[in-house]
Symmetry: C2
């Protein structure tokens, strides 16, 4: 392909609409263009990168025995009513009525459609296991689409669904997908971690997320320095502190005028935040719930929702008025003693002795409070975020917090959909049984964004070789010089013959512009044919990732480039 004929509208400045690096670079490098908030056109280079990812995903899914199909994007409401999700799925589900008055939606995911397909077409355990996948544009009507390809309304997903006869076989299917996912992200050339994850609203028994590691990631991953333990923050647990051996002291009320924040109260009382228990009020499905937490800890709302048996969308922090209405005390002086609403204590609180709490009286706190003696919570459980002071639940090793971008998620669904939609098969004894299901997603377009978040510098993108739009970019720096042009054209043609993917920058532009664009679009190998070629016949091959420069001759150039590309692809 010749740069002069390609639509690669690079920009000199960061576009105002972009906040994160991948979004800025995808726009600047002419990979995508916005149509509306959260929807983008993939231009030739952007689509080429996506096709690379798709192909890797397809090969590994096929290798794992999954079969590619393609389901409609518009889905009938009736199936979502069967599964029970029509009413509970939020506004992300774009609902509409077609010309014949049928309620429909744009598919954000396809559990209902695939369950319907399989219940209509698979009768016997002999036809199992079955794993069906598709690569398709999905639609989620996000309230605030942002971050370019990271959280758009339209995005390309690979979604797979497995159907098994027994729980054991379903776990084998899950395991196969887990392995396939590892191969996929390895082949994409990404640094990633598979972490235990919460199953969330999609339901099911267990799940793993695949996280591309990047400082700019929105998610926090908890890993152990010592063992293989890895979980996302919503799911991560740690060794609880052992129960303090201190003797309980006498409860004492102390005037703390105007001291409301943890830090201020602790300074005033001359204690550490770890010696204080804070009382937070949540509104859970319109009812107030108090949450007790060590002063230096934070609530993990997904854990809190799980312990309360609700969705994390059903709870939120109360505002000052709601706090006062629920407790009769202004924010800042709340405590568990005498509180008449539901009280959830974090596990850690149960290990503390002689801690400070609010006195439920404006301008007062109490010290030497003890759970069991001074108050009894409605329930106790792990509702906090793990910190890097915590220890691994598996081996006691140090935990580390890292940032990541979720690019894949696998779920063991069990019978959530097959039971509600009455999708059954006949087992060996001719008994009807619900299929045991799993579902497995990969954000194909998001992988491209995540790869950029993980690999960039001040000059532009640095694509991993396997998912770069093309592998080589040749700069012809002497468009009016016959020798240079002939050499560049010959290398271009010879590389194409060898099956190397290559763009020839034959634009009538200054060398500075060509170098800048080359760095920006991040093609792994840049080949320069310029003044030096006239001088001493030398051609320069630069590796984008590390800036290494190899000087070669015209005669050796094609072999040299081919070797570098092949080595890079097989890393």
């Amino acid at each position: 392909m010749r740069f002069s004929q390609l639509l690669i509208p690079t920009l000199k400045e960061d576009p105002a609409e972009a906040e994160i690096i991948s979004h800025k670079l995808l726009l600047r490098a002419g990979f995508i263009r916005k149509l509306t908030s959260g929807t983008y056109t993939y231009l030739p280079l952007g689509l080429a990168a996506i096709k690379k990812v798709e192909q890797i995903v397809r090969e590994e899914m096929n290798r794992a025995g999954a079969q590619e199909i393609l389901m409609p994007m518009v889905q009938p409401a009736s199936l979502w009513e069967e599964s029970g999700r029509w009413d509970v799925y939020g506004k992300e589900l774009l609902r509409f009525t077609d010309r014949n008055g049928r309620n429909s939606c744009l598919g954000p995911t396809h559990e209902e459609v695939i369950t319907d397909l399989v219940r209509m077409n698979v009768q016997s355990y002999k036809e199992l296991p079955l794993n069906l996948y598709q690569i398709q544009t999905k639609y989620r009507d996000e309230a605030r689409p942002r971050f370019g390809l990271m959280r758009g309304r339209e995005f390309i997903m690979k979604d797979a669904y497995s159907f098994d006869a027994t729980d054991k076989e379903a776990e084998q299917s899950y395991h196969k997908m887990n392995q396939a996912y590892h191969r996929i992200f390895e082949r994409c050339g990404l640094r990633f971690r598979a972490v235990e994850a919460d199953s969330g609203a999609i339901g099911g028994s267990f799940s793993h997320e695949f996280m591309v590691l990047a400082d700019t990631g929105e998610d926090t991953i908890v890993t152990c320095k010592n063992c293989q333990y890895a979980a996302n923050m919503e799911k991560a647990t740690c060794v609880p502190a052992s129960k303090s051996k201190d003797e309980p002291q006498e409860l004492t009320k102390i005037e703390t005028p105007g001291k409301r924040k943890v830090k201020v109260v602790c300074e005033f009382l001359d204690i550490e935040p770890r010696q204080l228990v804070k009382t937070l009020i949540y509104i859970v499905n319109d009812k107030p719930v108090a949450v007790l937490l060590r002063g230096d800890h934070e609530v993990e709302e997904v854990k809190l929702a799980n312990i309360l048996g609700v969705s994390d969308e059903d709870l939120r922090m109360a505002d000052d008025k709601e706090v006062y209405d629920a407790t009769g005390t202004p924010t800042g002086y709340l405590g568990p003693i005498g509180l008449e609403i539901q009280v959830v204590a974090d596990t850690e609180v149960a290990t503390m002795v002689n801690f400070a709490v609010g006195a439920n009286d404006k301008n007062y706190h109490v010290v030497n409070c003890n759970m069991g003696r001074d108050f009894t919570p409605t329930m106790t459980g792990d509702v906090r975020k793990v910190t890097d002071n915590d220890r691994c639940i598996l081996c006691g090793g140090d935990l580390v917090l890292t940032k990541g971008i979720e690019v894949g998620h696998i779920f063991k669904l069990g019978t959530k959909y097959s039971a509600s939609m009455n999708a059954t098969f006949l087992d060996a004894k001719s008994q009807e049984q619900p299929f045991i299901m799993g579902c497995y997603g990969i954000g194909v377009s998001r992988i491209v964004a995540a790869a950029i978040e993980q690999n960039f510098d001040k000059d532009g993108m640095i694509f991993p070789i396997p998912i770069a739009p093309v592998q080589v970019l040749i700069l012809n720096l002497g468009l009016k010089d016959t020798e240079i042009t002939e050499a560049a054209n010959t290398i271009y043609a010879d590389l194409l013959k060898k099956g190397i993917e290559v763009i020839l920058d034959d634009r009538d532009e200054r060398p500075g512009v060509k170098f800048k664009d080359a760095d920006l679009i991040g093609i792994p190998f840049r080949v320069t044919v310029g003044k030096n070629f006239n001088k001493d016949g030398s051609i320069e091959i630069r590796t984008r990732a590390n800036g290494d420069v190899t000087t070669t001759t015209f005669a050796d150039s094609v072999a040299e480039i081919t070797t570098m590309v092949e080595k890079g692809l097989n890393q």
Copy 2:
């Protein structure tokens, strides 16, 4: 791939929902399943055939210098308002409002989006020509979706759009696409014709349709026996008859009690239908228009709409009451004499002398009517369908009418969209000029259906080799026989190694079931390893298209099959 592990839910009976052969066979062979009216899931074999077509399309589009991109499926109303199509496009355009109240639609075509993209990103004539295409699922909310993949609501299209600086260059772009389309349908292994077509509602200056020839086609193609002339019925013209030399006779009113139909009136008057002119009343945008036509001819409504300067959706035949309200005469006795509404005479009528017409008086006709003397139409023009009695407009040769299925359509759009949407570039003199556009569609999923309509027999589909889901199907007819199974498995593995696409039917089914399914799914080459292999070591290769059987040995089988496949692919 092993048949036992693939989702190929073949059916023994024709499904009640299917009317045409491709729809029946696609369902029976387990290629597709219906989700809702007009939307289908492509199962593994169906998707495999579609991917074959996609790949041929992609290769030929790239070869023609077009660049692949991908635009969003959801489009903002604002762009359609700019082009003026928001109000005029029918209910096929599925309109909805997103959660933020923005009017949107599901893309049935992408002229607006691409014009917007190009006006934002292309400034200079130096960046032209530009041809951008995508392969994507489109949505048209058809009133009565039917015929399976032939006229669905969701379907896979390749749509391309060219942008040029001058009319001459635009015609070169059009010509390139015309050539690419010929290569695409040839490579798909289809018998087809490119025909002149009406530009219709999409607008523009000229267009061609690509028709797969099939007796079951909905469209009629007019071709010349003698020269290259080919047009669809909506566009086809012919040599008009020469003016009759007969002397005009005296107009005579004749009582024709109860004689209303052309055939009955002609018998009663003892004349041929070619000696009578019928008067038909159309309602065009709520107003009545009379159309005069030779008795044995039929109205071509697209031609009529064009001559009246309206869309063919704006006109329809009047019912009996409307006829009476407009003319004061009951249907059956209408004639042009004294008629006070707009009258359109077909060109052929102008060549006739002494013809019969209705008298505008119940139970009466008149004979020896002559145009010019007895009445003057508002306008005269070609508004009829060509027949196989007509002669070629180019060479005077005999015309032939054939049935076809439209699978591609190319349009020279001109500035229809660039002018209304103010999409301009700077020409060599730095003057703003609107882009000259073309658009080029291929119905990817429809090609698969059309290929079946063209190639089937009573037993099932007969896929052209280049677009068959796979090339070879091996039947293991001795699943419990170690020797047979080993031979089948070895051939299977060796063919895969050679890059031949192959399915091994390893199901625990009777030979009869396997033979029946093999015929049904129409894989080009069927390899049978059964009893004869035990008897004399022979293996049978059957070509689905002609039923030819080649007997070979185990040792020669792989080489033999490979040769047959390669020969078939290169035909």
